[in-house]
């Protein structure tokens, strides 16, 4: 157990001095907080616009889901890949960290980033509710809110794992970022082709492409059936196709599988290659 705290301390020392770390954290906080600030202002002027918990969780989490996962992925790349180009990964190993421990440190960094981003989001929600007049319904989080939070955390985890995987694979932050964005672009095209295909199997497979899973997990409609029902009723009126989401549990399992796969390959790659 002591080793875990040592690894965490090492990653913390490395991250706190990094300007891009704080820039990313600040940007995420601002992006997530701005709509909340707007809603708090409205709540003060308009008695019908309420900002209260737990009712406002879908809004807050939805805003965070728009950028959070990508931010975690990019930050992982910015924090991990340069360790190879600066050869500090090599020096860490020479100094006595085994390759496995170096890797474990990076997994802890990933977990830390996800927790940090989630905590920021929750704080913004709580802060906004405290600053607004009026009280919300009973309870602070409903089980569906909790499900949405977990889904968002999983979405961040998948992106972060992809960031770690690409960093370990190409060992340069520029190329890793390039490949990440290229992949997102390509997957979107492939998904469109697949869901337009006649075969049912292809269409449902498209649902489970990694980026799609992440998007669904971050979508409030996947977590709040009553909201989905409203939206679909509206769409039915305008004779639009109804929206469908896979079960959240299934999405969660898919996300965990992707994450485990990416992290596993990264570990094997770390083990095999010279530093």
């Amino acid at each position: 157990m002591k080793i875990l705290s040592v690894l965490l301390r090492i990653e913390w020392l490395k991250a706190v001095k990094r300007r891009s770390f704080w820039v990313a954290v600040a940007a995420f906080a601002v992006f997530t907080a701005l709509p909340a600030v707007e809603r708090v202002r409205n709540a003060h002027s308009d008695p019908n616009a309420v900002f209260a918990l737990p009712e406002s969780w879908p809004d807050i989490l939805g805003t965070a889901a728009g950028i959070g996962p990508l931010f975690v992925g990019v930050l992982m790349i910015l924090l991990v890949a340069p360790e190879f180009s600066w050869r500090t990964a090599r020096q860490n190993v020479i100094d006595g960290l085994s390759k496995e421990r170096f890797y474990a440190g990076k997994v802890m960094l990933l977990a830390g980033l996800v927790l940090f981003f989630m905590a920021t989001t929750v704080l913004i929600g709580v802060g906004g509710a405290l600053l607004s007049p009026g009280a919300g319904g009973p309870g602070f989080v409903r089980s569906s809110d909790f499900g949405y939070m977990s889904g968002l955390a999983l979405a961040m985890l998948v992106f972060g794992s992809a960031g770690l995987f690409l960093s370990a694979l190409v060992r340069s932050s520029g190329s890793a970022l390039g490949i990440l964005f290229l992949y997102l672009f390509v997957e979107e095209g492939v998904a469109r082709l697949m869901s337009g295909a006649g075969r049912e199997a292809l269409r449902s497979a498209a649902e489970f492409l990694p980026f799609n899973v992440v998007e669904d997990l971050g979508d409030d409609l996947a977590h709040y059936p009553e909201v989905l029902a409203e939206v679909n009723a509206d769409r039915a009126e305008r004779s639009l196709a109804l929206l469908e989401f896979p079960d959240v549990e299934v999405l969660a399992v898919a996300a965990l599988a992707y994450s485990a796969f990416l992290l596993g390959i990264s570990l094997l790659n770390m083990r095999k290659r010279d530093l």
């Binding site: 301390r9 090492i10 001095k17 050869r87 090599r90 020096q91 020479i94 100094d95």
Partner: protein, 312 residues
């Protein structure tokens, strides 16, 4: 217990036969406690690769090595806690200060904060410790690397070209630090292509060429190996020609001082007899102690001038 022992240690980069490079080829040597051991070789001869294998960042293709007697993964992990090492250029986080970089290294090595200041002091970096690493001069970077290796007060210090790119003043400072460490009883293994440096600082030396160890041992032994003689005669050309034809001589060099020949046997009497038989009359004949540089040039013969030559 030997801090370092290698047994036919080999590294081949790349798997495809056509493109692979045999960087280190079955090398075997041992470094005993308290030695200042110079690992000498021309560019591309495999010094960094060898050190990389010892410190665990490069996987050997075959062969073994021991650090403080340990060779299994667990034993090596424990042994490495007694080692401080740098590989090639100083590797640090460019955005952090010198001190913060040492804090990371100290956390990795599990040593406390007071040690950081001691090491900064030893390498004379205390007053620049708060500055960012990427503002350091090369000499300061090298000294920070030395400070980092010393954090865990290692018994064995491994340095890869510690004087690389330094001016004479910087080289002297590094030499001074190495001398202090050696006096404290540390075992030091350093690679270099600076012959005079190695001759000055090291007690022992191994000369590596194209991945093979050509000779190794105490500096005095390596230098004295093969008995060299210095010869002079009124007719230098005739003397050189005669010595080249002499069956007992392994190498003949023309120097400003005369002809230096290495003999298989130290039998000077037969040399005089042979030469007068050839009609060459000596004006001077004496045992000759070559510098390490001469031994080096002799054994590495013209050094290495292309990558393909190393590979072949």
């Amino acid at each position: 217990m030997h801090p370092i022992q290698t047994f036919d240690l080999t590294k081949r980069y790349g798997t495809r036969a056509a493109k692979s490079v045999l960087a280190v080829d079955r090398i075997a040597f041992a470094v005993a406690e308290g030695q200042v051991f110079g690992f000498l070789g021309p560019n591309g001869s495999g010094k960094t690769t060898t050190i990389g294998m010892l410190v665990g960042t490069i996987k050997p293709t075959s062969g073994r090595f021991r650090l403080f007697g340990a060779s299994g993964p667990k034993g090596l992990m424990a042994a490495r806690a007694r080692v401080g090492a740098t590989l090639e250029t100083p590797n640090f986080y460019p955005y952090m200060s010198g001190r913060d970089n040492l804090r990371v290294a100290a956390a990795v090595k599990g040593v406390g904060r007071p040690r950081i200041d001691e090491c900064l002091e030893l390498v004379g970096l205390s007053d620049r410790a708060k500055h960012r690493f990427n503002t350091y001069s090369l000499g300061m970077k090298q000294r920070l690397a030395l400070a980092a290796t010393m954090l865990n007060d290692p018994e064995l210090i491994i340095l890869d070209e510690p004087a690389n790119g330094l001016d004479p003043q910087g080289i002297r400072e590094i030499r001074e630090i190495i001398r202090i460490l050696a006096e404290r009883g540390k075992t030091i293994f350093l690679s270099s292509h600076l012959l005079a440096e190695v001759e000055r600082t090291c007690s022992h030396v191994a000369i590596i060429r194209k991945g093979r160890i050509v000779t190794w041992g105490a500096v005095a032994e390596v230098v004295g190996e093969g008995s060299a003689v210095l010869l002079r005669a009124p007719d230098t050309e005739a003397l050189a020609g005669a010595m080249e034809a002499y069956p007992d001589s392994t190498s003949v060099r023309r120097t400003d001082d005369g002809i230096v020949a290495t003999l298989d046997s130290g039998d000077l009497a037969s040399v005089t007899r042979y030469l007068s038989g050839q009609g060459v009359h000596l004006s001077h004949l004496a045992p000759y102690r070559p510098s390490l540089e001469e031994v080096f040039i002799d054994v590495t013969q013209g050094a290495v001038d292309s990558m393909t030559e190393i590979a072949s």
